[in-house]
Symmetry: C2
Subunit: 655 residues, 2 copies
């Protein structure tokens, strides 16, 4: 029983440090931390195969702490074990580091936050219910590379109410991902009260069995029970794909100290004058369970997994070459090609060029054209249909990214909306996400507003003014108007290390460019040059604006037309074009406000020059219409409306 | 077996009309519709208690079609039964109406869309997985009013992968909502392929039992089995709260016509030249199952539920009066009071003044101060803790709204992000949502970016440029800076019929106003008047800007400070203020870009006058910091930074 005694001793020690850290910080969740004290000790001091000096080692087992607020117990272990931390150059974490928890200059952030200098973690957690999906992505990335590592994910009971946890459980079952071990920390209490009976241990066991899991229902403070369950999981994982194991760990919130147990102790640090009393309670518990540390009882397991060399990346062919290669040489013959179809060709070509690329879709691969990737025999193993569960898909993709892959994630742009929190957490994690939202704007037509992305440009644009902690841009928003642009921008996304969002369109659109046109993140294209009015459009509306040029000429308005396919964009270049048009600017977009027009407005207003802007946007919730034209007329965004609005703007300016 | 034969006959007839409609429209989902033909016939021709001439009757049973793409089968029934439709004046739906499916001028939209003129439905569906939550809200609204109506919800098997369905199942179990009947339409196929084994009927039955449901596993094309299960549900619902029943209906996608069965028939209308063949197949099936219509076999059940009179609304007291009433007379003594605490007082006062108000929270009621409402004995029955499941919470609230309630929905603003799709669908439904996002911006401090709302202003702002189909504004965004403003704006939200989003703050903030200050949706307050520079701020940053005024005066800059607590706002009034300050404008916000500064930029750029704007926003992903001050300094948004930025702006303008 020596190891048992040592684990108890370490669990008490880590709990004490968790308390000291959170008390010093004046905030945090020591009682949740205490409920994990034995599980973390068993994992980090004994079972997990990793190297404290090299916490990002690609062959190491990974820990995803989905209930991020429990992080002080992991910090305590890292401080004790000297797990390397830091921005840039790493150093072994110390107890002094731990005591800087939540300080603005500290890498020991309030919740797991790898980009701030804590590489032991793969993903930022703290917004609940997302970790198990990320664990699945980490496991599948390792599977692709033949790296036999295990992924442990700790999920709170209250947190398990988040539907994404059910999505992840289904996903792991579908893929038979035995390498993932979901550990449900059933400590009875959530924030406001006890967790619902639906999330208590008995029901969790029944649900997990119904989902298909082989469940281990254990006392989460019994070292032998924990180690036995972990050993069973190890054997299962080593045996390859099959029935996954899940652990339901019955734990005590505030284990070891009665004064921090029960309701009302969530997110409440111990008051400084109560620490001694709590420590005395912990010491009494330690004595009661026979805690006694013996050096050598516990030892971190060495990394055994072999890691392959980085694969070679080859240049992608041109769009035309790719079409020929894929047996679609005459695809462009009619002069029209939807950007969603171009995405299919592009991601397939990118997949061939770069073995790190994986593709994910949510049961709409025939509509997004991710099917081109999925049906290519050379790529099929790197395609993952995530079914109708977008939250899980995005967090799985974050796991793929942390595992060294470049995930291209497609579904209707509208349906990505339900994963915005997951997208933001992935951005915060530094994930290299390539998000493809298809059927964007109102050109979708017949299906109606339940399938149309409309406020999405505003949301993604908000990130374009932000940098990640490591200085990279937090987002590029890309709205290609034709197939050549789509193809080229997908290759640019693949080459860029950071999050991008591309909107693709349902209808076929005219080809405007060719293989030689250069498209860059941050770029734009001038389609027509005039000197009265600068028209700025993106995506489908480039074509509508293009159609308006004749009418404008008839009305005596000489217009410059810019395809502003990227946010952010070169503001100086656009301001120059505006000035060449006497400062008169019209923006046209088939989504709600605060998008492209808003970005142009910001550039104009911040310049301080003399400009007059008119923004055309979707000003009423759309409905069904059989064709894009029907919708654009209803919404006063047709070519005729552009001409009319331009005339009104010019008359207003020169009465 | 006469009724059985009549139901078969009607099921075939409705399937035929669904095919004709979608073929005429050139898009739609006839095979999904066919899988529901018997279920819809049993519900709409026999079991449901409603009046076709008055589809919004508050005493009628309700149908929520969560798998909105199956809607042609419901349209077919409505056309056959003459269910009233229309915008403004209603008329009985005809077959001619049905044949206008998806036309831009038609009220027969591509997916259920009540605001476009289809009042039989309570909510817009089509973005999947949301209906069951809405059904729960409808049931609870009826329960509060003592209306004994039943709520039927049809959910697709593929759709059941959405985690929100699990959230709704848990919620219905917790509340013992026997009035809701979840019907899972297990027709085997999703869009790309068969649904996962995790969503096939056998697993669905096992999962539902593990969730606690009394499951009826039936053949969804057997009229007697359907009617028997519905009768059992009716008895269960009539008996009051208890163990809910759920139906797993095994159905055939494309029932009745082999040519539209199997994979590859999702979202594919029948080609005009194939309709005859499909109809022949349907006729053969009809003969095979003994379909034969007899007048009088089926009859819509009459409404029996009694509906109470609308409750009286009384004026809410002033903030000070409310504090006294609630025994907190000295709460304002120290001159500081957080806006989240003010929300607690305000929603409690509003709840007393208006019996239609209900409050929902997601396990953080102690942090959002929804606890003030929950713990008031007179209001507790109208408080609903939705646990850690924000998607379900928002869709439940949409159900409450459809049931005549005014739902106030609170959680951390960050966590509302994961319900943005649900919020948008609720807006599209015309739901009267009052969303309260607490701990907004970076003043939260210590917990770090996983708990901070940062791109939220941009997203909600996008809706402020949009009108609902009935002309109401799609959104007001409210960012009160002090407790008086919060209190008054909560009362204004309660009085307004339409969606609103309010951001509240964690830290205590100085009191700036009093009971006499008037706050309106669309309003703003001038805090200081100057003539060199207009500073525009909201929420916490009003105080930071206020602190900067002295430094600005020292620097010789006379500043006007506006508390722009509402989006949209009175643009003319703001432009006047800008002009009084020589066109120099500085906006300050502690969130990402495209928010308040973006809105001001749009107003300035659209005016065409001579203005120079500088926007201060959060330009890097934040991290933890012990105090708001620590964070604001790190992010260069402190009072000192405001002074510095203002000086730079003024020097730039007058070199």
């Amino acid at each position: 029983m020596a190891i048992d005694a040592s684990i108890h001793a370490k669990a008490v020690e880590l709990t004490k440090l968790s308390i000291q850290m959170t008390t010093a910080a004046g905030s945090g969740h020591p009682s949740t931390a205490a409920s994990l004290s034995h599980l973390i000790t068993c994992l980090m001091y004994q079972h997990m195969r990793y190297e404290p000096a090299n916490p990002k080692h690609p062959g190491s087992d990974r820990l995803v702490l989905s209930e991020g607020h429990a992080v002080p117990i992991v910090y305590a272990a890292c401080a004790d074990l000297g797990v390397a931390i830091g921005k840039g150059k790493l150093h072994p974490m110390t107890r002094d580091d731990a005591m800087t928890l939540r300080e603005v200059g500290s890498v020991v952030d309030g919740h797991p936050n790898p980009l701030e200098g804590f590489p032991f973690f793969d993903s930022a957690t703290g917004s609940l219910g997302q970790g198990l999906s990320t664990a699945a992505g980490l496991a599948q990335a390792a599977q692709l590379d033949g790296i036999a590592k295990r992924i442990f994910c700790i999920i709170g009971d209250g947190e398990s109410r988040e539907g994404q946890v059910a999505e992840a459980l289904d996903y792991i079952m579908d893929a038979k991902l035995t390498a993932v071990l979901p550990i449900f920390n059933c400590n009875v209490y959530a924030q406001s009260d006890k967790a619902s009976p639906q999330q208590q241990a008995d029901t969790m066991v029944a649900k997990l069995k119904a989902f298909g899991y082989d469940v281990r229902d254990i006392n989460g403070h019994d070292p032998n029970a924990i180690l036995a369950a972990l050993a069973e999981h190890a054997a299962r994982a080593d045996a390859g794909p099959g029935q996954p194991i899940a652990i339901v760990a019955r734990t005590t919130k505030g284990w070891g100290a009665a004064s921090m147990q029960g309701n009302g102790h969530h997110g409440t640090p111990i008051k400084p004058n109560e620490v001694d009393h709590i420590f005395a309670e912990l010491d009494a518990t330690a004595a009661h369970v026979g805690a006694a540390w013996t050096d050598g009882d516990l030892a971190i397991a060495p990394i055994t997994a072999k890691v392959p060399d980085a694969p070679a990346v080859t240049p992608a062919p041109s769009f035309t070459e790719a079409l020929i290669k894929f047996g679609k040489a005459d695809a462009l013959a009619k002069g029209k090609f939807s950007t969603r179809r171009a995405y299919g060709v592009a991601v397939r070509a990118a997949g061939h060029a770069n073995p790190r690329i994986v593709a994910l879709d949510a049961d709409v691969r025939g509509s997004t054209y991710a099917d081109d990737f999925a049906k290519d025999a050379d790529l099929a193993a790197r395609f993952f249909d995530c079914r109708i569960a977008e939250q899980n898909m995005v967090s799985v993709a974050a796991g793929f990214s942390a595992g060294g892959k470049i995930p291209f994630i497609s579904t209707f742009a509208k349906f990505l909306t339900r994963a915005y929190d997951q997208i933001e957490m992935s951005i915060n994690s530094g994930a290299n996400l390539k998000l493809i939202g298809s059927h964007a704007g109102v050109s979708l037509g017949a299906d109606g507003p339940s399938q149309m992305a409309l406020p999405d440009v505003a949301w993604f644009r908000s990130f374009t003014s932000v940098k990640l902690p490591d200085g990279r841009p937090a987002m590029y928003v890309l709205q290609p108007s034709d197939a050549f642009a789509t193809y080229a921008l997908v290759q640019a996304m693949a080459a860029h290390d950071g999050p991008c969002y591309m909107r693709t369109l349902r209808p076929d659109t005219e080809l405007l460019y060719d293989d030689k046109t250069e498209f860059t993140l941050g770029g734009h294209e001038v389609i027509a040059e005039g000197n009265d009015l600068l028209i700025v459009a993106s995506g489908y509306m480039v074509h509508e604006a293009n159609r308006a040029l004749d009418g404008l000429e008839e009305a005596g308005i000489s217009a410059t037309l810019v395809d502003l396919y990227s946010l952010p964009f070169d503001e100086e270049a656009l301001l120059d074009l505006a000035q060449e048009n006497n400062g008169m600017v019209l923006t046209v977009e088939d989504n709600y406000g605060a998008g492209v027009g808003g970005a142009v407005a910001s550039a104009l207003a911040e310049d301080g020059g003399s400009f007059t802007l008119k923004q055309m946007t979707v000003e009423r919730v759309p409905k069904s219409g059989k064709t894009p034209d029907d919708l654009l007329k209803l919404l006063r965004l047709s070519a005729d409306d552009i001409v009319r609005t331009a005339r009104e703007l010019m008359e207003l300016a020169s009465p």
